[in-house]
Amino acid sequence: MEKREFTITSETGIHARPATILVQAASKFSSDITLSYEGKSVNLKSIMGVMSLGVGQNAKVTIAANGDDEKEALDTVAETMKKEGLTD
């Protein structure tokens, strides 16, 4: 299992657009990927889950991947978050 922590720096948090892009990116991998925030975990391939978390600016989140392509999956997710301006 791979696990990484991120701080969301974007002013609007994970709103609908970056949530869509994150889910699209995560869905390309076979590993189970979860997003955790304030004690709750959701499937990063589920947009309803991601949007329900309501991750705002300065939130500390953990993303964990478990499966054959877990490392690659986390790299891609991290890169996507940066590209979308969610993290610095």
Partner: protein, 576 residues
């Protein structure tokens, strides 16, 4: 009996066609139980599948229009449909509560909206909730067999009537059938107005209760010249407006002949009528529409839809293309103007209580030279390919202008030392959009090569009014004697120092304002290119000398309404 509705003229022209309402269909449902859960689940699957097909087609269209990388609210809706979580929750509800599919959809939508709304971060709630509401609306429309209003389905000429036209709506328009637009919301200078002008569609915005007073199929006259909408017109009215529309079209025909001539008033004074452009496609329009130059090149487009700041080379390539395309006609480039209502992903800006009064435009440029310097270098390098001028937006003080100009001179020296060619005669000016600058114009005039009056912001700041706020938009009065006095003052200040002065806000293409501006001596009028020939034709017909008494009376009038009346009486040519 016909019904006359008043609004704000957003885009000129007259159109007569039936109304097509773009408003929510009746998707109300009642709590109902079923004895056949499997049937309800099957209906649910069908409605998801149909919705997905529709949205995918729509997504294709939007991507085609906005580019493959544009992820829109439609993609979010597709992601919601593709997420088994939502569908499974609805199916669970059908099975456990014996709900009909519609009722289960409604309950699960409420469940999620409740979660979304209970989060404390309210800034982006709207987007998440909207995406979910839009997609459940579509699912319900299939379950209930009620069609959703879909602008793409329009198959005959009609006038769209809506509360608001969103970018997603316009992405779906079939331009062939859209005859005009009427909206209840929207100030005169909102994004939508600019867009309808670009599409050259007659449009009237801010028409109160339009979506309740107008019904699907009602015959409408949209008078985008005077900001009026007539519902169920009488035969006489239709006749009258046909004549007017014909006259307008005739005028338009005549305008074609003006393209290759200079803009000269009846008493021989030369003016320049230029275009405001934001993309290279606009340059092509500007040339076709008879622009005598580019009075405002918005450089923001280079920074949109990308993750990093464009580097000097990328900017140079783009600017060179613009400057070269206009041959020896001048191109006035404005340095990056973000902040206020314009945000960019890659430039992190602090959250502000009053963005319009905050960190924006040249204030960002001076504080973040890593943004301004490469832009200036790229502009300077492009200067050898034509006739470039550079201006800084939102200058408030002499110090700011001197500081910006010093950075420009420094980069120019550096470039020359590095062996680059830079044109010798680049004019350096500033936007005049802050009242304090207008008051101090004679001092600024010593340091600038030219001014460009940004009337939209100037009027907003003068009247302390947000032109996008419907409640107060009426206070946005560019014809007000206060504005005329200020404009006259800055024109005189510029000319006293031998500098030229233009205007690049909406006011420059307002036919009521133009006679006054030309008589006051404004040198350059810059506008959306669809308005250029109309304004050139107007200027050609008028004599600045004969207009002087009108200017005197307008400046001394008490209200904007008085000014309008005076001009309409004195200059019958502005009527069309």
């Amino acid at each position: 009996m016909s019904l006359l509705l008043d609004g704000l003229a957003a885009s000129s022209g007259i159109t007569i066609a039936p109304a097509r309402l773009l408003v929510g269909s009746d998707l109300s449902i009642k709590k109902q139980h079923t004895a056949d859960e499997n049937h309800e689940v099957a209906r649910l699957h069908d409605s998801f599948a149909l919705s997905r097909t529709e949205l995918q087609a729509l997504s294709q269209q939007v991507h085609h229009r906005l580019g493959q990388r544009a992820v829109t609210i439609i993609d979010t809706q597709i992601a919601i449909l593709d997420d088994p979580t939502l569908q499974n929750k609805i199916i669970d509800r059908i099975n456990s509560h014996h709900d009909t599919a519609e009722w289960a959809v409604k309950k699960i939508e409420d469940y999620y909206l409740n979660i979304f709304e209970h989060k404390n971060d309210n800034d982006y709630l709207y987007a998440r909730a909207t995406a979910l509401r839009d997609v459940t609306k579509r699912i319900l429309s299939h379950l209930l067999n009620v069609p959703l209003p879909d602008p793409a389905l329009l198959d005959h000429r009609a006038i769209f009537v809506a509360d608001n036209i969103t970018p997603t709506d316009t992405a779906q328009f079939n331009k062939r059938y859209v005859a005009g637009i009427v909206t209840t919301n929207g100030g005169r200078t909102s994004h939508f107005t600019i867009m309808s002008k670009t599409l050259a569609l007659p449009a009237v915005v801010g028409v109160k209760n339009a979506t309740t007073l107008i019904h699907d199929g009602d015959m409408l006259i949209v008078d985008g010249i005077h900001g009026k909408v007539i519902v169920d017109p009488t035969n006489d009215e239709i006749e009258h407006y046909r004549l007017l529309a014909g006259k307008f079209a005739q005028e338009q025909q005549k305008w074609g002949a003006l393209k290759d001539k200079q803009t000269v008033s009846a008493d021989g004074r030369r003016f320049e009528v230029a275009a405001n452009v934001g993309t290279f496609a606009d340059i092509i329009d500007a040339q076709e529409d008879g622009a005598e130059g580019i009075g405002l090149l918005r450089t923001e487009f280079l920074y949109m839809n990308r993750e990093e700041l464009p580097d000097e080379e990328q900017q140079f390539t783009a600017y060179k293309r613009f400057v070269a395309a206009m041959n020896q006609q001048h191109v006035v480039a404005r340095t990056l103007d973000i902040g206020g209502d314009k945000k960019l992903g890659m430039v992190k800006l602090p959250r502000e209580a009053n963005p319009y009064l905050g960190f924006r435009a040249i204030r960002i440029g001076l504080a973040r030279p890593e943004i301004l310097r490469p832009q200036l270098r790229a502009l300077l390098r492009s200067s050898v390919y034509g006739r470039l001028a550079i201006m800084f937006p939102m200058i408030a003080t002499i110090e700011e202008f001197k500081q910006a100009r010093a950075i420009l001179d420094e980069e120019k020296d550096k470039l020359e030392k590095e062996g680059y060619q830079v044109a010798k005669n680049i004019e350096v000016g500033m936007m005049l959009e802050i009242p304090a600058v207008a008051v101090m114009a004679e001092h600024f005039a010593k340091y600038v090569d030219f001014f460009s009056i940004g009337s939209n912001d100037l009027v907003q700041y003068m009247f302390a009014v947000d032109r996008g706020n419907q409640e107060v938009a009426y206070l946005y009065q560019e014809l007000h004697p206060a504005v005329l006095r200020m404009v006259r003052r800055v024109i005189e200040a510029a000319h006293a120092e031998g500098k030229w002065i233009g205007m690049c806000g909406e006011m420059a293409s307002n036919p009521i304002a133009v006679p006054l501006l030309m008589a006051m001596g404004l040198d350059e009028f810059s506008m959306n290119s669809s308005q250029i020939l109309r304004i050139r034709s107007l200027i050609n017909q008028l004599s600045t000398r004969k207009l002087q008494p009108l200017v005197h009376r307008a400046i001394n009038a008490e209200t904007a309404a008085n000014v309008r009346k005076l001009v309409e009486e004195y200059v019958p040519e502005v009527k069309i």
